[in-house]
């Protein structure tokens, strides 16, 4: 019999029962809650007179629409009325039910997918859900993490279980060595370019091969974060020493005897050598250069030395129409050099790229340089209060502000433009976030997804440039 994949192991070890209709009930070890998708779930509980099944499985923080400008005045001073009421409602729900929450001005507050691993709330081998599609980030720890909708948030709160169907297994294997200036973000953008935004639909994707084995935990999180942009609800990396080193000593991680017991159990959280995947994609890491998306879907991506595609080179009519429509929305010409794209704003942040390593990468590029004159605004938004604190200890905030970038409070910010940080109509933005859909960062806004280093390079030159030219 063939061995098991990591996904198979995680799924099977959490199976509570198989329902008559073929769906499965799996036990959920952890739920992470934020202000946008939880209010009606709590309300539903109250209306039905139900209690959460297990309080200590939950952790919460507001992130999606907290202001990232000075906010010491607290929740009462949030200007947008809907944002204010959502944040307040999360606070009161967590207070009422006794759920641990890091409130807006708590040092530990942050973007859900940054805060949870940072705190050790997500550990190898757990199942986790969160009402946000980028929950796949947490798979970097060898955890089975699903993004869910509000009704599922309520279902998990009430039953500690999720109704789901087993997915198929895909292995994305990247071997070889990455070139200088090529980051985890470039790897995952390249992968999405290869398999397409629907390529992973119905699959749990495991990222394997030398490149991921040698990658830091933070880099693995960046990669798993974007599994959903390849259509997969789940992204995973097998557990190894890098995982254990990352987890050890975190506030909610096991300690002492329990740590030893946990490590022994986690050793098995790898895909067996003879595991069979339904689909395998192989990529050579040495072929990847810094990536830039030119269109309105993450798969519309090319290397920085390339040109914007020309629909005339395509034969498939659907593709041709897609390219034309994207070119029009983005205000670009076919065959234009990527490096000729002029930018108006720069956003360094989001659950994809707002961790300390990301900020270090960006700071290295801007150090001793100035934001270009045509850039209206360049934002750096750390992923959590603790990331912010660490960056300030290292003096990164000074590097950014000296160069003319804004240093902000933690939150989702311009990733989805639910708070006041938005693109203007027609503006081009070099963004380290994960979605470049039409209007995602503001009505008419034109998003180009890049790595933190590439975004920093764009900030100081005013257009896209191969970051390797600046860090030689």
């Amino acid at each position: 019999m063939a061995g098991k994949t990591l996904y198979d192991k995680l799924f099977e070890s959490h199976l509570v029962r198989t329902n008559d209709d073929g769906s499965s009930l799996i036990y959920i070890d952890r739920q992470v809650l934020h202000e946008v998708t939880s209010p009606q779930a709590f309300e539903g509980l109250r209306m039905a007179g139900r209690q959460p099944w297990r309080i200590d499985a939950n952790i919460a923080t507001p992130d999606h629409n907290v202001p990232t400008t000075e906010r010491s005045g607290g929740v009462d001073e949030i200007v947008d009325p809907v944002s204010k009421i959502q944040v307040k409602t999360l606070d009161s729900n967590c207070d009422e039910f006794g759920i641990l929450e890091f409130k807006m001005n708590d040092q530990r507050q942050g973007i859900v997918h940054v805060m949870a691993p940072e705190q050790g709330a997500i550990l190898p081998g757990v199942t986790a859900v969160c009402g946000d599609s980028h929950t796949a980030t947490l798979g970097a720890l060898g955890a089975l993490a699903h993004g869910v909708g509000t009704s599922e948030v309520e279902h998990v709160l009430a039953t500690q279980c999720l109704i789901t169907k087993k997915m198929k297994n895909m292995l994305v294997r990247v071997d070889g060595e990455l070139g200088i200036g090529v980051t985890p973000k470039d790897v995952v953008l390249h992968v999405i370019g290869v398999i397409g935004t629907a390529g992973g639909t119905g699959y749990a994707i495991e990222f394997g091969g030398d490149v991921f084995r040698n990658m830091s935990m933070e880099g693995r999180m960046t990669v798993c974060n974007m599994a959903i942009e390849a259509g997969a609800r789940v992204g995973l990396v097998s557990v190894d020493q890098i995982t254990l080193d990352y987890v050890e000593g975190r506030p909610f991680a096991p300690k002492g005897e329990q740590w030893d017991m946990a490590v022994a159990a986690w050793k098995d959280l790898v895909s067996d050598n003879d595991a069979e995947f339904d689909e395998v994609v192989e990529i050579n890491g040495a072929d990847i250069e810094p990536q830039v998306t030119w269109g309105t879907s993450p798969e519309m991506v090319v290397g920085v030395s390339a040109q914007v595609p020309n629909p005339a080179n395509e034969t498939d009519q659907v593709k041709i129409d897609g390219i034309n429509r994207a070119l029009e929305y983005m205000g670009l010409n076919a065959d234009q050099n990527i490096t000729d794209i002029k930018l108006d704003r720069v956003f360094i942040g989001s659950c994809t790229n707002s961790r300390i390593e990301d900020l270090r990468d960006a700071a290295k590029v801007v150090e001793g340089r100035k934001v270009a004159g045509n850039i209206i605004q360049a934002l750096v938004v750390p992923g959590s209060g603790l990331v912010k604190e660490q960056a300030e200890k290292e003096g990164l905030d000074k590097v950014f502000t000296a160069a003319g970038l804004e240093w902000r409070e933690p939150g989702c910010s311009m990733c989805l433009a639910m708070n006041p940080d938005k693109l203007g109509n027609g503006e081009h933005c070099a963004s380290t976030s994960n979605r470049n859909f039409e209007g995602r960062q503001g009505f008419g806004g034109r998003t180009h997804l890049v790595s933190p280093a590439m975004a920093a390079a764009a900030a100081v030159t005013g257009h896209f440039i191969d970051v390797r030219e600046l860090i030689k």
Partner: protein
């Protein structure tokens, strides 16, 4: 979810076909973070003479005195008589939420829009389909009799009029089972609470570090 077994209450006639979900609860009220509290804006445009705003106190608003639910004799209505294709339009679940919050337990009509019909069951509301003639008869009787009450007996699948007449209705067995027992998706899962507890106990043994750690 509320159980529905047997219910007797005041019936009110809403004599309009194709009542859509925007009429049941207009879109400006959808921004709420809640799923309760929509009752005061149920049929907002029919009920009030001014345009309703979210978060407004409705007590001082000018009422449309002619609207059926504003008539004193229909105060406390819990069974709504309606015409064909009730609940058409957008799929918003706010429509059954608003009816439920207002105190309606059952809607009787010759036909319903499909999504609305499904959404009712998820929210403990019983939509009943009777024939055109039967609905006509109920409309006539309610108009001529003040304090007219209907009894809805889900177990036996009949609507009883004050004179004792019984009108049988059809309902899917599974849906009936869920309503009688107050089971929504969560309720159905909770039927397996013993399995969940057994799993959890095992998990507590094999991974004790996952319990009582976050507080």
């Amino acid at each position: 979810m509320n159980k529905f077994t047997l219910h007797t209450g005041i019936a009110a006639p809403l004599d309009r076909a194709n009542v859509d979900t925007d009429m049941i609860i207009p879109k400006q009220f959808l921004k709420s973070i809640k799923r309760s509290g929509f009752g005061k804006n149920l049929f907002d445009e029919l009920r009030y003479l001014d345009e309703g705003q979210p978060d407004q106190d409705c007590a001082g608003r000018p009422l449309n005195e002619e609207f059926v639910l504003n008539l004193p004799r229909y105060k406390g209505t819990s069974v709504l008589l309606a015409r064909e294709n009730f609940g058409c339009g957008s799929s918003r679940e706010h429509a059954p939420w608003a009816l439920d919050d207002f105190g309606i337990r059952s809607v009787i009509a010759p036909s319903f829009a499909e999504i609305f019909y499904n959404n009712c069951f998820k929210n403990g509301l019983l939509p009943i389909i009777l024939s055109e003639e039967q609905v006509d008869q109920l409309f006539n009787e309610v108009a001529t009799t003040e304090g007219y009450e209907l009894t809805v007996d889900l177990e036996n699948q009949v609507v009883k009029t004050p004179s004792g007449e019984e009108m049988a209705f059809e309902i899917d067995d599974f849906r009936k089972h869920c309503l009688l027992n107050g089971l929504d998706d969560i309720g159905l899962t909770l039927q397996h609470a013993d399995d969940i507890k057994a799993y959890e106990e095992k998990r507590r043994q094999s991974a004790p570090w996952l319990f009582d750690a976050i507080k």
